[in-house]
């Protein structure tokens, strides 16, 4: 009996883990080949019954079965960077800064934070859900800008610029094309409008 319980328990765990990973692969696949995230058969199947969907996520979250193993796949994504420009009371740039970190580990983790802004690069025909997420990401930039402004007291105005670090293919690099930082988004905040 114990053996059967053991096997059923871990079969359920591995089932959740495998389904989660198939769903992730499907997402990458449709993004890569159809440039869309709508072709998600597994995800849609799970969402049909909200109780199954909730239970699935509950088990996956607590057991870690939610973990996607497709690290750095199917492609290594381009690195995003955010630069903050502090401005004085006349609106003139004083300095360009990035959040201050005390260890290399947290600096590495901040690169993960920047990765979420890759979602913002989708331009045309955003669904309502994606529009909300896009606005949510703007709030994340705003929150980080606020913290950076606090660290640079008494300045009251800050700009945030998001860049993508574009690396040319080997052949182009050999022919003299250097890696570049392409400007993507620009935000302007003052302490007053951030606090709102």
């Amino acid at each position: 009996m114990k053996k059967i319980v053991f096997l059923i328990f871990f079969s359920l765990y591995f089932f959740c883990s495998i389904i989660q990973n198939i769903a992730n692969q499907e997402k990458s696949f449709s993004k890569l080949f159809y440039d869309s995230e709508e072709v998600e058969i597994i995800a849609n199947l799970l969402q049909r019954n909200k109780y199954i969907y909730k239970s699935f996520h509950f088990i996956s979250d607590y057991s870690g079965a939610e973990t996607g193993f497709g690290l750095y796949a199917p492609n290594v994504s381009s690195q995003l960077v955010i630069y903050y420009t502090i401005r004085d009371e006349n609106g003139l740039p004083v300095k360009t800064v990035q959040p201050r970190f005390k260890t290399k580990e947290i600096a590495q983790r901040f690169l993960t934070v920047y990765d979420v802004f890759l979602e913002k690069i989708k331009t045309n025909n955003l669904s309502d859900e994606n529009k909300i997420y896009d606005e949510y990401l703007d709030l994340v930039v705003k929150s980080m800008a606020f913290k950076t402004l606090q660290e640079n007291y008494p300045y009251r105005s800050i700009d945030a610029d998001i860049y993508v670090h574009e690396i040319p293919p080997m052949e182009d690099y050999r022919n003299g094309e250097p890696p570049t930082y392409k400007h993507l988004f620009h935000y302007e905040y003052t302490l007053e409008n951030i606090e709102k």
């Binding site: 591995f14 996520h57 973990t67 290399k104 934070v113 949510y136 929150s143 293919p169």
Partner: protein, 326 residues
């Protein structure tokens, strides 16, 4: 019916029949994982407040918006501690990280192991979900491993519990070792397969893109552009070693080669991409799942068979010599 019986026998044999002599793998998992999490905790120590306080880099309302309501967040624990003991937010966060560290030390030593692993698992989950944006793959794998520590009998081997409370009832560690092994095979299969569906791992662009980023390791790899076959070779190598792991690690003649190949890959990731925690996590998982299995432990059943065979030969030769003398 016959097929079902064969399947049942094989499942039984794979998971339960081989009684291993020691639980080194499980003890290694417990000690190495908790030691790694303790070091990670200290690495994030100074920036802890900036990550988890309600006025951190990502404010509380923003962080909490995407967290499912069945997860207990560090913000909620902080509120609770503030309400109960009248602590400030900073002191409450300070308490959380100390409690987490102390129970990780307990887990490492194997003291009150089951209870310690439950506390570590729940606190880790809370810390992970409350600062989701700062987390990467390794942190999620830590959740899996801590969940395993809760379920597995990791405190039965080389633990303070054994010293203090006496040697507890023996448990066959093999079924748990099998779960670790299956987990690792799933990890590498999906990691390899996901890389294989895009073209950039086949044409070397992904390797090139990872290595040329000087913000990670400070080493200049621009010379690789003159030797494009190298990134191609490395990219194809990574796909092969990961996708085929779930087969090759079971093949006796080449499993050692595959094992050390994957360890070398993780060491390279640690050195060249600066992903130390991720690499350490995967190396711990590999050692727990396969090192002792490949190198160290012989199935007890095998030893018993060998022993009884030697005994039989000795008895036979004794009888033979007695008969011959008489």
């Amino acid at each position: 019916m016959k097929v079902l019986a064969i399947v049942k026998t094989n499942i039984d044999k794979f998971f339960f029949s081989e009684d291993r002599e020691s639980g080194k793998s499980l003890a290694f998992l417990r000690v190495a994982l908790s030691a790694l999490l303790i070091s990670l905790n200290f690495l994030l120590w100074e920036d802890f407040i900036n990550i988890y306080s309600s006025n951190g880099y990502i404010q509380r309302d923003i962080s909490e918006a995407l967290i499912e309501n069945y997860i207990v967040t560090t913000y909620q624990i902080t509120d609770f501690l503030q309400y109960l003991f009248g602590l400030s937010e900073t002191s409450a966060l300070f308490t959380i990280r100390w409690v987490y560290t102390v129970f990780l030390v307990f887990l490492c030593l194997g003291f009150l192991t089951r209870f310690s692993s439950i506390v570590c698992w729940l606190l880790h989950l809370s810390l992970l979900k409350s600062a989701d944006y700062f987390m990467y793959g390794a942190d999620y794998i830590h959740t899996i491993l801590l969940f395993f520590c809760v379920i597995f009998p990791v405190g039965k081997y080389f633990s303070l519990d054994n010293k203090i409370f006496g040697v507890q009832q023996k448990v066959n560690p093999l079924p748990y070792l099998r779960i670790l092994q299956i987990q690792l095979c799933i990890v590498y299969f999906f990691a390899g397969f996901a890389k294989a569906i895009g073209e950039n791992w086949w044409n070397g662009h992904s390797i090139w893109k990872s290595l040329i980023r000087t913000d990670l390791n400070g080493i200049d790899f621009s010379w690789l552009a003159d030797y494009p076959f190298l990134p191609i070779l490395l990219g194809v190598g990574v796909i092969c070693i990961e996708t085929l792991y779930l087969i090759m690690i079971w093949v006796k003649r080449i499993n050692k080669l595959w094992f050390w190949g994957i360890i070398a890959m993780h060491l390279a990731i640690a050195f060249f991409l600066d992903l130390h925690i991720f690499s350490a996590t995967m190396i711990i998982l590999n050692f727990s799942a396969f090192y002792f299995y490949i190198y160290d432990e012989k199935p007890k059943q095998f030893n018993e068979e060998k022993e009884s065979c030697i005994k039989r030969i000795m008895i036979k030769s004794l009888i033979f010599s007695v008969v011959k003398k008489s």
